[in-house]
């Protein structure tokens, strides 16, 4: 089973590496990271913080964009181009196929993010801006957030078109960054229904704010071990549940 999943994953990675879209997004991300040098240069105060704020935001934005844009086509493209016919006629379950595609894309996006992180580190060192454990924590949690976003995109890709899947996955990402605010708003509400509804949304939607330690890193604030392992645990469980749903949907599909 593992060999088959890895074969699909390796091939997914190979497809992504040979795709122009990823290189285009990666190019713009690297340009923006380098441009932060210029933007920081025209500021008189907190140059390091501006440089790193822009860099971290660029990495997060482009990594999530790649995760959504590539993730939403992950399964749909295979069905639409009918490449899935020959693959699923081999001794491979639909679940193995979907998990393989997911693993391959997550690994590719992590690799791309690592390239952006290397550029960010180079720019920071060049400018003399501090790099610490906080930054490592930011990137570890970003990796977890990307795994969650790809899982969500894969779920939508398993049953709808890339256009709708982009809207749904993008919407979930935006909502996922606001769920804490929503929960707090609901908790303050006097309406019982509003409290229940916001609590339900907080439970169903991913709490993506828990993966964001950019402020702590940029301001050099201390990061506790639990700030990392709790979100990683939460993210892993969320990915597992979303992938079980995606496999369940994909198993029921007829390829007409």
């Amino acid at each position: 089973m593992i060999a088959r999943v890895l074969t699909i994953a390796w091939n997914t990675g190979r497809e992504a590496v040979r795709s122009k879209l990823l290189y285009t997004l990666l190019f713009f991300a690297l340009v923006l990271i380098c441009a932060s040098l210029v933007l920081a240069g025209i500021s008189y105060v907190e140059r390091d913080r501006i440089l790193q704020d822009i860099g971290l935001a660029s990495i997060r934005f482009f990594s999530v964009a790649i995760a959504i844009f590539v993730g939403v086509g992950l399964i749909h493209k295979e069905v639409d181009r009918r490449t899935v016919y020959t693959i699923l006629s081999k001794p491979l379950s639909r679940g193995e196929f979907l998990i393989g595609k997911y693993v391959g894309l997550v690994a590719t996006i992590w690799l791309q993010t690592a390239i952006m992180v290397a550029a960010f580190a180079a720019v920071s060192l060049l400018q003399g801006a501090p790099l610490g454990v906080g930054h490592a924590a930011v990137f570890a949690l970003l990796a977890m957030e990307l795994a969650v976003v790809v899982a969500i995109a894969t779920l939508f890709s398993a049953f709808t078109t890339p256009m709708l899947a982009t809207l749904f996955a993008g919407g979930v990402w935006i909502a996922g960054n606001l769920t804490r605010n929503l929960r707090d708003l609901g908790a303050d509400s006097e309406l019982g229904l509003a409290r229940q509804l916001t609590a339900l949304l907080y439970g169903v939607l991913p709490d993506l704010a828990s993966f964001n330690l950019s402020i702590e890193a940029a301001h050099g604030l201390p990061v506790m071990a639990s700030d990392i392992w709790l979100p990683v645990l939460y993210g892993s469980a969320y990915v597992a549940i979303v992938l079980v749903c995606a496999v369940s949907v994909f198993e029921r599909r007829d390829f007409k």
Binding site: E15, T86, L88, P91
Partner: protein, 325 residues
């Protein structure tokens, strides 16, 4: 004639309904079809476009699920996956990852099918040679012609040396030389003891290659039989066209000689066994008939196919008439 071998593929009373659009209306595309494919034979699954051939094949490959009924390959339910290491499949107009080369795609399918790493390279090279793509092995598939993609499709279906091979329109997109090569390849598979299930609407290919055939029309099996019979000619028959025959005389000819009445009107056409042509003619002339023509008839797949389509059309017209009544 080959002795009957045990069934490798069993299809029992398969029904498939699709829901077109979002409504509750169901469209039945397979109406309880049943047939078996025996070990070591080339089985032709024949039908006009839209008859349900590809749907049947997709059910066998687990790509779609039957609404009811049972299908098994090598004794395994088609919903299972492990047995598929013994099954090869070429879909109609196959699509592949065009960012890979011919060699890479075969390696990919071989790994998925569990071909051991030690044998993988040799097996891929052998298959590339079989389908005549050795020279184009390292070119990306996006540069391949339709015929080359069909060949790589056949190669991926065989890369793991399966026992049963399912081919959906295997001659599609091939030039005459390519068709000849694929025919030779299919015959080679049979000589190696493989079972081949072939969807096609090209009757000449079926007559040349297949041991047995099933004809499907509008989701119903209209004929299942041995192609050796009509390839060898079967029992010779003749068509006799007569005029001026009374209905009583026609009935007497039908009953007396087991003649099959094929046309009614001013002229009637009777199909009889060739060995009883003389007595039939004598009886017809004695009944006052005029003999218009006498044509030897040899049963062909085409005649069976056309008869199956006509039978289905008559059934549809009957059903429509009943609904109107």
């Amino acid at each position: 004639m080959r002795p009957a071998a045990p069934p490798i593929v069993r299809i029992q009373n398969i029904v498939k309904d699709f829901r077109p659009g979002l409504g509750l209306r169901r469209l039945r595309v397979l109406h309880g079809i049943s047939f078996n494919v025996r070990a070591g034979e080339i089985f032709g699954f024949v039908g006009p476009n839209g008859a349900g051939k590809t749907t049947t094949l997709k059910i066998l490959m687990g790509l779609i699920r039957a609404t009811s009924g049972a299908a098994s390959i090598l004794g395994h339910d088609v919903g299972e996956t492990a047995y598929r290491r013994h099954v090869g499949f070429l879909p109609e107009n196959p699509y592949f990852y065009d960012f890979l080369s011919g060699r890479e795609i075969l390696g990919f399918y071989a790994r998925l099918s569990g071909v051991p790493r030690s044998r993988l390279r040799t097996r891929v090279d052998t298959l590339l040679e079989w389908v005549g793509l050795t020279e184009a092995a390292d070119a990306r598939l996006r540069t391949y012609s339709k015929g080359m993609l069909q060949r790589i499709g056949i190669a991926q279906a065989l890369v793991h040396d399966p026992q049963v091979v399912f081919l959906d329109e295997p001659m599609s997109g091939l030039d005459p030389i390519g068709r000849k090569e694929v025919r030779d390849l299919i015959l080679r598979l049979r000589s190696e003891g493989k079972t081949v299930f072939m969807n096609t609407h090209i009757l000449s290919d079926v007559e040349m290659l297949c041991d047995r055939v099933a004809i499907i029309v509008r989701g119903r099996i209209q004929f299942e039989g041995d192609t050796h019979e009509f390839r060898a000619g079967g029992e010779p028959e003749a068509d006799i066209v007569l005029s001026g025959v009374s209905p009583e005389a026609v009935a007497a000819l039908e009953e007396g000689f087991q003649a099959r009445l094929r046309g009614v009107g001013e002229r009637i056409e009777l199909r009889v066994a060739e060995k009883i042509v003389n007595p039939v003619l004598r009886a017809a002339i004695a009944a006052g008939a005029e003999v218009i023509s006498l044509t030897p008839h040899r049963m062909s797949l085409e005649s069976i196919f056309l008869s199956a389509v006509e039978k289905d059309l008559a059934r549809m017209q009957d059903a429509a008439a009943r609904r109107q009544a």
